[in-house]
Each structure stands twice: as C-alpha cells, then as structure tokens.
C-alpha cells in the first residue's frame, strides 16, 4: 500500500477488498450449494409432493428470499438514516438495498414460479397473501431503482424515494407472518416454525443452512460493493461538474 495514502483512502480500499472477497466467496459457496442440492441431497417421498424433484428449488428459493429480506432491511435502515439525519451513508445504503432487493426479489419470485408451476400447476396465485406482498415489495424495489435513474438527484427526490422505502417496509413483517395467518397456497414454515420440531431431514437442513450462509455472504458483498460504487459515482458526478464548470468559464 502506498504510504502516502490518506486513512480515508486506505479504509476505502480495505472496504472494497472486503466487498469483493465476500462476492467471490459467496458466489463459490452458492455454486457449491446448488451443485450439492442437485447431486447430493436426498429426494422427498413420492407421495409428499406432486413433483418430488422440484423440491430441490428450495435450496435456491429460500436463500433468495432470505437475501431479499436482508436487502429490504438495509433499504429501510438507509431510508430512515437519510430521512432523519440526511446521512450520506444512509443514502448509499438506500441505493444498495433497493438494487439488491430488486435482484434477489426477482430471483425468489422466478424460483417460486418454477416450483409453483411444477407443484401447483400454476406459477402464481393472486389470492395468496405471501406471494402478493412479496411481489409488491419487489415492485417497490423496481420503482425505486427505475425512478432514481429517471429523476435528477436532489434532496427532494431523495426524500420521496426514502419515504417510499420507509413505508414499503411495512410489507416485510406482513410477508413474514402471512403464511402463519392466511395459509392459502404458499407452504407454512418448515424450519423455525415455533412448534419445537422441524420436518427436514438432517442432510436437507445442513445444506439449506450452508446455502443460506453462502447467499448471505454474497448479498453482504453486493451491498458493500454497491455502497462503494455509489460513493464513487457521487464523486465522479461532482468532479465532472467541476470540470464542465471550468471548461465553460
């Protein structure tokens, strides 16, 4: 490392390295988990499901939904920090949370649709509360990502997006409890069900835990990298403004 670098620059480089390391480790872990889900983990009894092999999608669907919940949590924290303290880090967390929430939300929805088509015969059920509140959360993330790109960056537009991020978070606890209160299509909790027992085989539980851990490392890497990128983009915008201003003077 260059001995003349400022502590701020050194911290930025360390943060960037940590983010990229999380991305690489998380991706390798996710790939390993998906390979094990396909090649190693036991199947379920034929009478338990309409399409027994389709249960292997759970090792992708559950961690994706978990990642999405982390991303929406970061979106909420970032929105609250921006709204209450005008925090630059808060705005970067808002941007990172909305982008990651969109990507992971789409992953969870896509995998759920594949499973639904195989198991229920339909990819989506408009009467199921869990499906629709999660779909709304992903739509909210899409609105924030696309809206931010369509609007000039400013305090007013940030306030608007942060408000949407804050109030949209209400859907997270509703999504969480939806299958406990209104179980329509989406299965209820299989692990952490609160009744003291789980119905997963040990290998399945171990692999689901490994997949969830790997995907968590991956989303942490994405969030760190996205916060760093937003910081760089803001600096680039500022400097280009200066450069343009100098050119016109």
């Amino acid at each position: 490392m260059n001995m003349l670098q400022s502590p701020q620059a050194s911290g930025s480089i360390m943060g960037r390295r940590a983010g990229r390391t999380c991305l690489a480790v998380g991706y390798l872990g996710a790939a390993t988990a998906l390979a094990l889900a396909f090649l190693w983990v036991p199947s379920v009894p034929n009478d338990a499901f309409e399409s027994p092999e389709a249960q292997r999608i759970f090792y992708w669907h559950v961690p994706s939904a978990w990642m999405a919940m982390i991303a929406f949590g970061v979106l909420f924290v970032g929105s609250a920090l921006w709204f209450t303290r005008r925090s630059a880090l808060g705005w970067r967390l808002h941007v990172a949370g909305s982008e990651a929430g969109l990507a992971t939300g789409l992953m969870a929805i896509w995998s759920g649709c594949v499973w639904g088509a195989a198991e229920w015969g339909v990819p989506w059920d408009w009467t199921d509360v869990r499906l629709n509140t999660f779909g709304l959360l992903t739509l909210l993330a899409m609105l924030l990502v696309l809206g931010r790109r369509a609007q000039p960056d400013g305090v007013e537009s940030r306030d608007t997006f942060a408000t949407a991020g804050l109030f949209g978070f209400i859907l997270v606890p509703v999504t969480y409890v939806a299958t406990r209160i209104w179980q329509i299509r989406h299965p209820g909790p299989v692990i952490a069900s609160g009744d003291g027992g789980g119905s997963l085989a040990p290998e399945m539980g171990a692999l689901l835990g490994f997949a969830t851990l790997s995907f968590t490392v991956l989303i942490v890497g994405h969030l760190m990298e996205s916060v760093h990128l937003t910081s760089l983009e803001q600096r680039l915008d500022r400097l280009q403004g200066k450069l343009d201003g100098g050119a016109t003077e």
Binding site: Q5, S6, Q8, A9, S12, R16, R20, L23, Y27, A30, A31, L34, A37, F38, S51, E53, A54, R56, I57, W60, R86, A88, W91, A103, M107, S111, V114, A118, D153, G154, V155, R158, L218, G221, H222, E225, S226, H228, L229, S231, L232, E233, Q234, R235, L236, D237, R238, L239, Q240, G241, K242, L243, G246
Partner: protein, 58 residues
C-alpha cells in the same frame, strides 16, 4: 424434456444469472474507478469522499 433436465437448466440459468450480476457490479466498479482516476488527474485532485447533493446543501 423431463423434469430433471428442466431443473438442471433452471439451476444453470440461476448460476449464470448470479455470475452475470456479480460480474456486472465488479466491472461497473472498475469502469467508474478508471473514469474517476482520469478525471482526478485532469483536475489534479487526490482521493476523497463526497456527496454532491449534501455538498450543494451546505
């Protein structure tokens, strides 16, 4: 196409999508760093950490 083939294709698609997303984020970072370095060089500046919206407000 049987179920396992469809599942294998779905898994491969998932891995490719995850890889593309991760690669896109990393390459976007490299591109911005390169542009930032050339802009800083043009202005004769050192590394910093600013938010233009907040700076304008101050």
């Amino acid at each position: 196409m049987n179920g396992m083939t469809a599942l294998a294709l779905g898994y491969l698609g998932m891995l490719v999508a995850l890889g593309v997303w991760t690669w896109t984020v990393m390459s976007r970072g490299r591109d911005i760093e390169r542009r930032l370095a050339s802009t800083e060089a043009a202005l004769g500046l050192k590394d910093g950490n600013v938010d233009p919206v907040l700076d304008d407000k101050r």
